[in-house]
Symmetry: C2
Subunit: 339 residues, 2 copies
Amino acid sequence: MRTELAESPDVVERLLVDARPGVEAIAAAVRQRDVDVVVIAARGTSDHAAVYAQYVLGARNGLVVAPATPSLSSVYRTPPRFDRALVLGISQSGRSPDVVAVLADARRQGALTVAMTNDSASELARAADSRSDLGAGPELAIAATKTYLAEVAAVAMLSAALSGGDAFAQLAAVPHVMRVALELEDDVAAAAQTLADDDACVVLARGYQYATAREWALKLKEVTGLLADPYSVADFQHGPIALVEAGFPVLGVATSGPALAGEIELLERLGNRGARLIVLSDAADALALGAGVQLPDVPEWLSPLVAILPAQLFAYHLALARGLDPDAPRNLTKVTRTT
Amino acid sequence: MRTELAESPDVVERLLVDARPGVEAIAAAVRQRDVDVVVIAARGTSDHAAVYAQYVLGARNGLVVAPATPSLSSVYRTPPRFDRALVLGISQSGRSPDVVAVLADARRQGALTVAMTNDSASELARAADSRSDLGAGPELAIAATKTYLAEVAAVAMLSAALSGGDAFAQLAAVPHVMRVALELEDDVAAAAQTLADDDACVVLARGYQYATAREWALKLKEVTGLLADPYSVADFQHGPIALVEAGFPVLGVATSGPALAGEIELLERLGNRGARLIVLSDAADALALGAGVQLPDVPEWLSPLVAILPAQLFAYHLALARGLDPDAPRNLTKVTRTT
């Protein structure tokens, strides 16, 4: 896990070159067909790349993004009408039958179908009209790290191909910033140490970084056994905030952008109630709230490509601090085939 | 909370009559405009009525349902293009500014907009072209119960108006089945007692009942302080299953339908690993897996209107068993206004 997550900047750097022609072709097809809805089938870590897509394709490309409910294809066999949508399957292995079933239904209906997968010979790749190969190389650790970065980068590239402007130039600078983020490892390990004896926490963010909160929480569940519950800053206040009592750990991803002020306000309120705050942020007033790790600067729409690296390192070091082997999580296998 | 949840059968019975003309008019507008995508803005409990909509409108009406990301309207001010969609706002109070902002953007773009709210004079009601009033009467308990039932019923009515056939006849039988479900209270209270000393659990379901799992988990968080994490049976296997060790409580909603066999298989596997299972089900082989509460029969697409009642009662009795007042949850107020 530690080795593979450190490969992420190289993976993204390579992807930005190799996947460009394919992504431009997909963008051209989206424009030609006047698509305004994107349906995404994905599970686990890949589903968090889909969460990122909801924000980036919505805010920067005007597209409505609907997460697929794969059981409507694989179990109920009553899929909705996808024919005017772009239907995207995202999967490291390309082998989960439920995700493949959505793409197969969509293609049968005549929808534009695209597979983003790390295995270009997989069932998912074969089920789609077009492929965007992630090219992350073999991922052996059970907890996905570099393939998540490749998936998020591929979604960002699709957005860039649709928006034009200087989006690709901004993307080109990201691998360097990712390398800077990896150098935060000592700070991250020290912050992780403080949760060595906890059972549960929540992970909060809003907007683009909501995907990071979801993926951070999943990594914590997978490799540390900590019951980490992710919430958008807004949803958290509609009920789950009842969980917070003195000493409860609250992790926040709070980076610069229109959502930052509201998030700082909530974190401050939780801190005043005695919550133990750990914040990943590029903003001094967010970092002043509690234990923090200072992230390097990057345009907000690309910030999930940077913030997840310290979050993954945090899960890795917390597993070690809890006496667990992050490369051998309980109950999991690398490829999960759900129907 | 106890009083209001017991009013749910009457609320639904009344809604089936009073809301019918409005729902038929909305269905006619959907048909006339050839809408194939529904965007839903909702928070907290109301968001779980939106989850139900993903399944029922997808499976029975062929519609793609996209949960809105309200911050794109309220915080980023870069909404996607909604103009060919039905945009639905669901909110008990009708007063959360982020949900109102989505409807306002959608109306400005010329989309078909509908408000489902319990306050027909609210900002949300005024922001939409059409209203479907929930008519649940005043809800004073902070944890929403009867208004959730009204929201789910209103969504089911919209599906029935779109599908025709005997859907409304099936719906008409539901209030009676709900009354039968309320009589399960003693069984439910006994099952709830077994979690009096736990800190965390997961709640599993698939398909239509995934909405019930989400809402059950939220009620547990709100009134009992138990960190209850809801998952679809498929998503759970893509990572979070790593949490389950001997003694870990697993709650399941497992009712008859195409997804049942896969859910029983997973629950059995978790039981073999020592998980403590509590199952709400109408099926003997699911109930045989552990502590169970036997639900009355109802067509699968309407089963979320029945299964949530014992789930709400479970949360109520678990709060009492933990020495908490379910009518005074920590940190919460009745109306949550997030921007």
